[in-house]
Amino acid sequence: MSAQIPISTFKPYRGEKARLARAYDYLILVLALFLFIGSFHLHFALTVGDWDFWVDWKDRQWWPLVTPLIGITFPAAVQAVLWDKFRLPLGATLCVAALLLGTWVTRVFAYHYWNFFPINMVLPATMVPGALVLDTLLMLTNSLTITSIFGGGAFALLFYPTNWPIFGMFHQAVDYHNSQLSVADVFGFQYIRTGMPEYLRIIERGTLRTYGQYATPLSAFCSALLCSLMYPLWWKIGKLFADTRYLKRI
């Protein structure tokens, strides 16, 4: 640890020093933006993957379980750095915004222009409200424990209702050649994906069953519990990689 500067002798930067410090801020911000666009987007694509890519994968059981659980990782790690070292309560929002930027670029250029899928078939989900809650809760409580339990829980619980205004309309029923399908299912049937047969969809599978036909709340609360554990885990990972040794020499 560097020696703490006594409050009485602390002098804020002025003039050229202040300008240089501000230039450094912008440099780091731009680098961080591209870093998080690339790394978080890659992490998300490799783990959440098809659940976020396709409208006919966004089911009521696995999608609200898997997406927040993976989505809370980078926000927790970045918050650990930005809050602990700089008291900046924007780590989660920055990560989620960077992820969305990267996702939209990929959906438009790779999925639509390169592979010809209509963009409405590959609309991404958003986690912005959960991230705002995570940032504000951390700022107001300054507590890892409270943010883990309540912030992690809120991040998961808010995910499905946040996205229902976007995807609810894709769940209207269609009588498609004597089968009941949702509009989302019709997308999956009509717009041919060579490497994505219907049976590959991991939707409504496994022992995570409905209870009285209420599937989503069960998944969301399961995800909330897991997110409250995932959050401190990734906070610790963030702390592990947080290094301000160069700042101490300034």
């Binding site: 929002t93 107001l140 309309m169 299912d185």
Partner: protein
């Protein structure tokens, strides 16, 4: 600078020279990459036809045909309990509008029965103009893709003309190309603006070095102001309330929303078309001569039908070896998956009704090598499979047998 000029000039020249040579694009779907024993002994396609190979955007095109699910299904390949008849395309240049198995419409996956016979039809609609190599094929769960015969399709017209509307159960007509897009963009912009506002609120003031120094100096209380706290409290309460309110509005808007559908379709096989019992074929021996690229097959044929039959064709993995003596009936000149003289018999005379005869058939063609079927002898499971077609010219009937046998290689 001068020293750098030369290498740069050389590099630019090299790139220009290389650009003269056209780089061919990949135009196949790896259909020869799968091990031969899987291609030969899983889905055995036949009579596959396209309604047309040249059409315009919005025009319909269909592919129909039959397939037999081999009885001698390889032990190393999971049984076809979830299978999906797909179309290999470079993206959705066509859309699939209808699909039928044994005359029944089906949209999900289906369980196929080894030994079962099926006929299929897939109806599609042109979406993007171009020249495309297309196959029907089966995605087999945990096994991979078994390709059907491929063709080239030419789609003409203007992509802007494409339209695709469907009707919901509530009677609403929706355009699949744009449905929900504007709404999705709106909500992403809405939440994106809130996120941007929160980020800008913090980014507008000095950040890293300044805040680090202040925190280090114990001035934490100056980094988070009362105004910051007030805004944070408003966000902490307001955002969840807004989310739940918007969710409730949407739930009221779509009260009949259904979950994604994930059932397995249940369609029984047709009455036996292959190995139907009237003409029984038992494979006694299969021997592959590597140097001659010839498969020697010995069959015991028991003709229990009313008429005399002759062997006309052997098909395996979408390659058709024809008996030249029956070429007038079966010859398909110009098709690279057809070997018109590929089949020769030890005894070509018709097998009379009630007669049981042992026949040696030589299937000789470079296709064994070019289609990478000769790789069979290097597989862990080196059994051959395929369909043997026998014809009763007088009665105009066709009998099909699905055959299989262990292959013995001859290297000299």
């Amino acid at each position: 600078m001068k020293s750098l000029f030369k290498p740069w000039l050389m590099a630019v020249l090299c790139i220009n020279v290389l650009s003269i040579f056209a780089v061919p694009s990949a135009q196949a779907h790896g259909e020869k990459a799968l091990e031969p024993f899987i291609r030969m002994r899983t889905i055995q396609w036949y009579d596959v036809q396209w309604s047309t190979q040249k059409f315009n955007v919005n025009d319909e095109v269909s592919v129909s045909g039959k397939f037999h699910v081999a009885e001698d299904w390889p032990i190393s390949v999971p049984k076809p309990e979830a299978s999906f008849l797909n179309i290999s395309t470079p993206g959705p240049v066509l859309i699939r509008t209808e699909r039928y198995l044994n005359g029944k419409p089906w949209t999900n996956s289906v369980s196929l029965e080894p030994g079962g016979d099926y006929e299929f039809k897939v109806v599609m609609k042109g979406r993007l103009p171009g020249h495309y190599h297309i196959h029907p094929f089966f995605n087999l769960k945990d096994a991979g893709q078994v390709m059907g015969p491929g063709v080239w399709l030419d789609i003409g017209g203007d992509p802007a003309d494409f339209s695709n509307t469907i009707q919901t159960i509530n009677g609403e007509m929706i355009d699949m190309e744009s449905f929900g897009f504007a709404n999705g963009v709106f909500w992403h912009l809405f939440w994106g603006l809130l996120a941007a506002a929160w980020l800008l609120w913090w980014v507008r003031r000095p950040l890293f070095i300044s805040r680090y120094r202040m925190l280090d100096a114990g001035l934490e209380h100056e980094l988070i102001t009362d105004q910051d706290k007030t805004i944070a409290k408003a966000v902490l309460v307001g955002v969840p309330v807004l989310v739940l309110a918007l969710n409730a509005v949407t739930a009221n808007q779509y009260p009949d929303a259904i979950p994604l559908q994930a059932g397995l379709d249940r369609i029984l096989p047709l009455p036996a078309q292959v190995n139907a019992g009237l003409v029984n074929v038992d494979t006694l021996k299969a021997e592959y001569n590597v140097a001659q690229r010839a498969m020697l097959l010995q069959f015991s044929i028991d003709n229990r039908s009313q008429g005399a039959v002759r062997i006309g064709q052997f098909s395996t993995s979408n390659v058709h070896f024809m008996n030249a003596d029956l070429a007038s009936v079966n010859s398909k000149p110009g098709k690279d998956d057809v070997s018109n003289n590929g089949l020769s018999l030890s005894d070509n005379t018709p097998i009379a009704p009630g007669e049981q005869r042992t026949v040696t058939v030589e299937v000789r063609d470079a296709a064994w090598e070019s289609e990478k079927l000769d790789g069979l002898i290097k597989d862990a499971d080196s059994r051959l499979g395929g369909l043997l077609f026998l014809y009763d010219d007088v009665m105009g009937k066709r009998y099909i047998s699905s055959i299989s046998a262990a292959v013995i290689p001859k290297f000299n």
